[in-house]
């Protein structure tokens, strides 16, 4: 879309939305949010960027193929469940650690990495579909639709 306003605002907007999506993802365990919704926000952010600058720009910006991102997410989620094997507890049992990072106790858990996996799958899959649809060569007008 060739709108100066959009092209000016889009980078900032995308950055803010991505940041917000991560915020929503991480706070999801205690407040409204989580991987699904975070992933959807991130996918929208990429959508905004795509509308402003085109598909090629988005692909360049995210470096990896969106399906690869989704695949990595699925693997992360599955592996998060598998960690429990080493502790001889059933598959997908949530495991927690509380390391001190910069003097602050930060709770980390396999459920968190699982949720990050969900986030990545949603971003990857949705972005992949949207980008593929947007990238198509321009609409060919059907025979019945000449106007």
């Amino acid at each position: 879309m060739n709108s100066l306003i959009l092209r000016t605002v889009a980078p900032v907007l995308t950055a803010l939305m991505l940041l917000f999506s991560i915020f929503v993802l991480l706070r999801g365990h205690n407040e409204p949010g989580g991987g699904f919704i975070g992933g959807l926000i991130a996918a929208s952010a990429l959508g905004v960027y795509g509308i402003a600058f085109g598909v090629t720009a988005v692909r360049r910006a995210i470096r990896f193929h969106p399906m690869a991102i989704a695949g990595a997410g699925l693997m992360l989620a599955a592996l998060s469940g598998l960690i429990s094997i080493f502790f001889r507890v059933p598959f997908m049992t949530g495991l927690w650690v509380y390391p001190q990072i910069l003097g602050v106790e930060v709770p980390l858990a396999t459920v968190m990495s699982f949720d990050i996996g969900v986030y990545l799958v949603v971003v990857g899959a949705i972005a992949s579909i949207a980008l593929a649809l947007e990238q198509e060569p321009g609409p060919t007008i059907g025979p019945e639709e000449k106007h």
């Binding site: 365990h29 205690n30 959508g47 996996g117 198509e136």
Partner: protein, 780 residues
């Protein structure tokens, strides 16, 4: 020894699989010599199993195993009695020779490593089949032998005949495998037992069960397909498309005997009933006769052997079902003898084929001086197969006649069948083991000479064993035949037949058989011509029938697919939504459970009313939209309004997701719309519109009523109480919705994101196909 025995047996069981994994690498580095190294795996397993011989001969049973899935009461356990031990020794012993043989036979073949890998994997599967204790393990290994057999038959995958034969074998034995699975489930349900070793304690329970006959038919479905009994025999001759080591090993010495093994194993609990003693001898007898007659028709040495194998399997089934201890003894002796001489003959034929370049009996002759060692081995094997005194085959034949010649009409009938069948097999044995070597020297495609040691070692050892076992029959009976027969009839049996001829009915019948066989051998060409005429007159056999069946199946599924999937999206959507409406409304109508209308709230808050109105406006806008894009955006308005209503009623997670989903679906739908070549306006005629709106209203009404109804049923708070109580304490999360998604029901979520991923891939694939096609059309 006792302490580590289970572990060693376990390793012996898995040695072939391990060797199968290593085979490709070893062959790549060592070439054909790798076979000698790989043969050590089955040889070592053989030695391990041989250590159990004294114990089993003393009437003991060796068991062992590991717990596998304790919650299903499933264990990985084995059970070695006379029957399974004999099979295990045959599989590993002949297996070691076959691996060596395959090393020479396929020397220089680019895929030799793969071949050895397949055959060793088969060996492991077959070994697992015969020593498994649990039904489930038996079934798994049974199927595994079918699959490895498929791979081996189709080894020359570039030839269509090999592919067809492989598929045919897989379809027939695979269908039989399903039948066996059902049979085993019946067996389990009727007896309550899941282990073969416990079956002997069942007694008459199964025989008196009303499900006996169904169980029997299902088990026979598995055994008859695997052991190539008429009318399922046709896959076995076709399986000769495989390289000769496969034919020698799978399709004569081991795999095809799995069906016989199963019948012998079940004889104590399923045998001794009229059904058993009619069905088994009947089908076995037909298989025996038809196998020998069809074999007579062939000129290909390998096919002749294949049909005699089928005939021998028929004989074994007939004897197993005949219903006397004598008959079982005969079956046991014949089974061992057959594995030895048939394996030897197949390998000898392979050596001839390999060195002379043909295996057509009419184009071979005078090979005795060129291939003396192979000749000796083939002749010894043929003598055993023909049942000539001194050989193990003779003992088996004596015992067969002793068992059958009981005097009553039924026995006379089956004796006659056995005599005819054996005489024909005698003739075929010498046609294979003697004919190519005698007479004038015939020019062959390749200049024939003796092959390397790997090619004659196997035939010599097996044929020699056939002679030794006959001469030292006491030892063979003590360690092999008697324990095996005891296991089959489930009581102590001592076999004492020796190679010293006893004057009597059996010897007389043996003589008749040999004379008749000599006569047929003498007039072989004439007999062949006669049989060819006879078989041609019969018309299509089951082999052609299989082709028709497969073709019909393909056509039928194509027709059904065309009917169910006509390719019009409108029809799919219409069908889906009609079904949805029915599913929602029918239960309410049939059960008469209409919800009562809830009382309208006295006071609607201003903001609630406002968003309801916005939602309604959105819907009206959808209906009145001039083009699709407007409609989509209007639908988004309605969705946003609903999302706000969620928020007002305290479901922020739901509301968030609804917002994002609405936004993204508007974006994606808009993108799709611009891609598809659609009318920009709604072009449906009025009747179509009426139908579609009726369906839409029915669906909406159904959902509304269902929701109202479910709100009016008393709410069970067990789950919400559980989640509210434990969300914070166990899962350390205050947001119950999120805790359910990532923790309590995490496996569900894992499944869901897999679906999201697959959907994404599918959409991507569809778009690619479309764009590639349009690019192609654009060029034209």
């Amino acid at each position: 020894m006792a302490a580590n025995a289970p572990a060693v047996t376990f390793i012996a069981l898995f040695l072939p699989f391990l060797a199968a994994l290593l085979a490709p690498v070893l062959v790549r580095t060592l070439g054909a010599k790798a076979a000698w190294l790989l043969a050590l795996a089955p040889a070592m397993a053989f030695l391990q199993f041989a250590r159990f011989l004294p114990e089993v001969a003393a009437g003991e049973v060796v068991t062992g195993g590991y717990v596998w899935v304790p919650s299903f009461n499933l264990s990985f356990s084995w059970f070695l009695d006379g029957l399974s031990l004999t099979f295990a020794l045959l599989i590993t012993g002949i297996g070691a020779l076959i691996v060596v043989y395959a090393g020479g036979y396929l020397k220089g073949h680019p895929l030799q490593g793969r071949f050895l890998g397949f055959i060793l994997a088969f060996m492991g599967a077959m070994l697992g089949l015969v020593i498994s204790d649990s039904f489930l393990m038996l079934f798994v290994f049974w199927e595994l032998t079918s699959i490895t057999s498929f791979l081996l038959i189709g080894f020359d995958h570039e030839r269509e005949a090999a592919r067809r034969a492989a598929l045919q074998a897989l379809v027939v034995t695979g269908a039989g495998g399903l039948s066996l699975l059902a049979g085993l489930i019946f067996l389990w349900n009727v007896t309550g037992v899941t282990q073969l070793s416990l079956l002997v304690h069942v007694g008459d329970g199964l025989r008196q069960s009303p499900f006996y006959f169904a169980t029997l038919l299902l088990v026979l479905g598995g055994a008859f397909t695997k052991s190539a009994q008429f009318p399922f025999h046709f896959w076995l001759p076709n399986a000769m498309e495989a390289p000769t080591p496969v034919s020698a090993y799978l399709h004569s010495a081991t795999m095809v005997k799995a069906g016989v093994y199963l019948l012998m194993r079940l004889n104590p609990v399923m045998g001794d009933t009229p059904a058993w003693e009619i069905l088994l001898p009947f089908f076995g007898g037909i298989t025996l006769i038809s196998g020998t007659i069809l074999g007579l028709r062939q000129t290909d040495l390998k096919l002749m052997l294949a049909y005699t194998t089928m005939a021998s399997l028929g004989l074994l089934v007939m004897l197993t079902g005949f219903g006397s201890t004598y008959a079982v003894e005969a079956a046991v002796l014949y089974l061992v003898a057959h594995s030895l001489f048939k394996g030897a003959l197949f390998m000898a034929v392979g050596a001839i084929d390999h060195e002379a370049g043909t295996r057509d009996v009419t184009k071979l002759g005078g090979l005795r001086s060129a291939m003396p060692i192979t000749f000796a081995a083939a002749l010894l094997a043929a003598l055993s197969m023909g049942g000539v005194p001194l050989f193990f085959g003779f003992l088996a034949k004596e015992e067969i006649y002793a068992a059958l010649a009981a005097g009553n009409p039924r026995a006379v009938f089956f004796t006659a069948i056995a005599v005819v069948g054996n005489a024909l097999m005698f003739a075929l044995a010498f046609a294979v083991g003697l004919k190519p070597f005698l007479g004038r020297h015939v020019e062959t495609p390749r200049h024939a000479h003796e092959g390397p040691v790997s090619l004659w070692l196997g035939p010599v050892v097996l044929a020699g064993l056939g002679l030794l076992a006959g001469i030292f029959s006491g030892v063979a009976h003590f360690y092999i035949s008697s324990p095996m027969a005891s296991a089959v009839v489930d009581e102590k049996v001592v076999i004492d037949i020796s190679t010293v001829p006893h004057i009597g009915m059996p010897l007389l019948l043996s003589l008749v058989t040999i004379l008749l066989g000599l006569a047929i051998f003498w007039r072989m060409d004439k007999a062949r011509a006669w049989v060819v005429q006879f078989v041609d007159a019969l018309g299509i056999g089951p082999d052609r029938g299989f082709d028709y069946f497969v073709r019909g199946l393909v056509r039928m599924s194509a027709a059904i697919t065309r009917f169910v999937q006509p390719g019009r999206l409108e029809l799919y959507l219409t069908a889906t939504f009609i079904l949805l409406a029915l599913a929602l409304l029918l239960p309410l109508i049939l059960a008469g459970e209409w919800p009562t209308l809830p009382p309208l709230p006295d006071l609607l808050l201003v903001q609630e009313a406002a968003f309801l109105i916005i939602a309604a406006i959105g819907i009206i806008a959808v209906l009145r939209a001039k083009n699709r894009l407007t409609a989509i955006v209007s639908l988004g308005v309605q969705g946003f309004a609903v999302a706000v209503i969620f928020l007002l009623f305290g479901a922020p997670d739901l509301s968030f997701t609804q917002f994002m989903v609405e936004t993204l679906s508007v974006v994606i739908l808009a993108l799709v719309m611009t891609r598809l070549q659609l009318w920009s306006r709604d072009h449906r005629p009025l009747p179509q519109k009426l139908l579609d709106s009726t369906i839409a209203i029915a669906c909406g009404l159904g959902f509304t009523l269902l929701l109202l109804k479910s709100l009016q049923t008393p709410f069970d708070t067990v789950l919400s109480d559980f989640f509210n109580t434990y969300s914070k304490t166990i899962a350390h999360g205050a947001n119950v919705v999120n805790v359910i998604i990532v923790d309590f029901r995490g496996v569900d979520t894992l499944g869901e994101i897999s679906v999201v991923m697959i959907t994404g891939l599918a959409v991507l694939a569809l778009i690619r196909v479309r764009s590639r096609r349009s690019a192609k059309e654009g060029k034209v």
